[in-house]
């Protein structure tokens, strides 16, 4: 296999890996919106909480299992508290109030994290048994840890599919996404359903954060940059649709990764190296937004609109 093809394959896998991370966030965001009608900007904070809890635990105990547990528990717990204390009061409000209140939560969580852990990024090692790479194809080695992330993400996607299609909770979730008033009128304990869905969304956000820890640096503000990318995913996929979230996430992940990998190189052929890198990075960052604009021109409700 030529080096060019090997590089492309590696970048594609990187794209899928970013995609599944985005999916874990987008699934929660889109469900929470589809069922409760709430736009939650603080979803990215839960990602950050998961990452920090896992990073701190891993550093303190050295146990990846404890780190996993801590990351999940912290994100779910913080998520439930946020739902109980703030979001629950916002279900009946308009989107503007929801945006502002959750914007306030972001400031609180970010600055709170600075207070607790400082502004320096934390670095997390890949767990012992997961270091190194495997040969996925002749001539193409790929890190085990990243493969694991892809596997976990796809596993969660399958699990969510089964949960939504095959269980009673899933039935309510589906019904809730399309006929919110009807589910309410049928006397389902909607509060419990809300808390469960929100907890699940928080858990997935935390999972995404703790898995991303060893790849990215764990730092304040990590939640927002990925949150905005997640918005792009949700808009492209169609709000309220988990299938759309998966499709949109992988699409955005791959497009973003490939642009970042190749655009600076292409620009370097026409301009100076450092400028090409900076402009390339900028253009690559813009790429997914242009993709979103194109999708919206064709389909204003996204690729898989849940509300027909």
């Amino acid at each position: 296999m030529t080096p060019g093809v090997a590089l492309l394959l590696e970048q594609l896998l990187n794209g899928v890996q970013l995609g599944v991370t985005l999916f874990l966030l987008a699934a929660g965001l889109t469900l929470v919106f589809g069922i409760m009608g709430v736009i939650n900007l603080a979803h990215g904070s839960l990602y950050m909480v998961g990452a920090y809890a896992a990073a701190v635990t891993a550093t303190a105990t050295g146990s990846p299992w404890l780190a996993l547990l801590a990351g999940l528990a912290a994100a779910a717990l913080v998520g439930m508290v946020v739902e109980f204390a703030v979001l629950r009061r916002l279900y009946a409000r308009d989107h503007l109030d929801q945006v502002l209140a959750t914007f306030g939560l972001i400031l609180f969580f970010n600055e709170g994290t600075v207070l607790l852990f400082g502004r320096q990024p934390l670095f997390v090692n890949v767990p012992e048994g997961l270091r190194g790479a495997v040969r996925v194809l002749p001539g193409v080695d790929y890190p085990v840890y990243r493969l694991l992330i892809i596997a976990v993400g796809l596993g969660v996607a399958l699990g969510l599919y089964l949960l939504i299609q095959k269980t009673r909770i899933g039935m309510l979730v589906r019904a809730g996404a399309t006929h919110r008033e009807m589910v309410r009128a049928l006397g389902v304990d909607i509060r419990l359903l809300y808390t469960l869905v929100f907890g699940l969304g928080a858990l997935l956000a935390g999972l995404a954060g703790l898995m991303a820890g060893p790849i990215l640096s764990v730092q304040v503000g990590m939640g927002e940059s990925i949150l905005i990318l997640t918005f792009v995913v949700v808009v492209i996929g169609g709000i309220g649709s988990v299938r759309g979230a998966l499709f949109g996430a992988v699409l955005v992940g791959i497009v973003d990764t490939l642009l970042r990998a190749y655009v600076p190189g292409l620009l370097r052929q026409v301009m100076a190296g450092s400028e090409a890198d900076a402009l390339g990075a900028g253009l690559a960052s813009m790429g997914v937004y242009l993709l979103m604009a194109l999708v919206l021109l064709a389909k204003p409700r996204g690729l898989f609109p849940a509300h027909a």
């Binding site: 736009i39 916002l90 503007l96 502002l100 939560l105 400031l107 808009v235 450092s274 813009m286």
Partner: protein
């Protein structure tokens, strides 16, 4: 007198007149930072008021308003950079350090940016619209971060600005009065627009798009025009801010700036004339005070925002209204400000008070 208290325009004129004395009073209080702070408030008031045209006027929750604010700022910054280097922008447009050139151009570019982004974003509505306006603003943010020729992450400094009508813009009081004058002009425009035919359609769109369609109004062009006007206002504010700070950077279009502008609108009173200006004053002062107390002031500001949203509906103007109109008919029974014209006139008060909400009848 009460009717005067209830007319927001009277409030606006009174507050602007009082504000004009800030540079006179500030030296007496021995606080030189006050004029600069007041200038920032006046500039933010323009930006917040322009956003209010969308949020409060048309019910369009744009979460990317900082994009136009930043665009306005960069027009000033980039033209200045070309003025200094002597090379024309794109080889065509000569640089300038004259506010009389840069400000209109900034407004134009802000309007064009809003036209393009609005044309795409307004194909959606509701939560998609929020996310898309945010995403487009981030896109511009990344673009300017990557433009190394214009400072990239670090931004551009603006040093020597030409005098305007012989007035030195480096004099804080002069810049303040210019900003305040533009704020007054902008508020006057907003007042006229909100009462005009266009403003009525916009208010109708906020209250019920379905109704607007049923009376034969295609809402898209109205929303787009509102979006462009708002973008122009934000760009004007951005251009002024760059003159005040003598600096422009991508931070001006960061999404948190869009959030702050929204906060100002809500804090002051959504859909009111004076509210966004009061909100700007409140938030700038709050930030200034809190940051004087602790480096981690956002840790306090965040929960304050949550509490304001949850418990202080109507914002500062709502509170003012409740106080000013205590003995009359509850003016806050009308959400989103804007007393329907005709009801504000004193003569109408003579009509016997009709019972409120007699129709508790089912809606169908």
């Amino acid at each position: 007198m009460r009717s005067v208290m209830k007319d927001e325009r009277a409030w606006a004129v009174l507050l602007l007149a009082l504000a004009a004395f800030v540079p006179v009073v500030a030296p007496m209080l021995d606080s030189p930072a006050t004029v600069a702070l007041a200038t920032r408030i006046a500039i933010y008031a323009i930006a917040a008021s322009s956003l209010n045209l969308l949020l409060g006027g048309g019910g369009l929750v744009s979460f990317g308003h900082a994009a136009y604010y930043g665009l306005g700022g960069y027009v000033v910054g980039i033209l200045y950079a070309h003025y200094v280097s002597g090379e024309a922008f794109l080889g065509v447009i000569p640089g300038s350090n004259d506010l009389l050139v840069t400000l209109p151009l900034a407004i134009l570019v802000g309007g064009l940016g809003a036209l393009v982004i609005g044309a795409l974003s307004l194909r959606t509505s509701g939560v998609q619209f929020i996310m898309i306006t945010l995403a487009f603003a981030q896109m511009l943010f990344f673009l300017f971060v990557s433009l190394k020729a214009y400072g990239g992450d670090d931004g551009l400094a603006i040093r020597r600005v030409a005098p305007v009508f012989g007035l030195n813009l480096r004099d804080p009081a002069t810049l303040y009065w210019i900003s305040l004058g533009l704020l007054a002009a902008w508020l006057f425009l907003m007042d006229r627009v909100s009462r005009s035919r266009f403003g009525r359609v916009l208010a109708g769109i906020r209250q019920g798009e379905r109704r607007m369609a049923a009376i034969g109004v295609r809402t898209y062009p109205y929303k787009l025009v509102a979006f462009v006007i708002a973008g122009m206002g934000a760009a004007m504010a951005g251009a002024l801010m760059v003159n005040q700070a003598r600096f422009v950077s991508p931070d001006m279009m960061h999404w948190t700036k869009s959030g702050e502008l929204m906060v100002m609108v809500i804090l002051g009173g959504l859909g009111t004339l004076v509210g966004p200006a009061l909100g700007a004053a409140a938030l700038v002062t709050l930030e200034y005070t809190l940051s004087g107390l602790t480096e981690h002031w956002q840790f306090i500001l965040g929960p304050i925002l949550v509490l304001v949203v949850l418990f202080a509906r109507g914002g500062l103007m709502g509170a003012v209204r409740r106080i000013a109109g205590m003995r009359g008919r509850a003016p806050d029974a009308l959400p989103a400000g804007e007393l329907p014209a005709g009801r504000v006139q004193p003569g109408d008060r003579a009509a016997p008070d009709l019972p409120l909400r007699e129709g508790a009848a089912p809606h169908g």
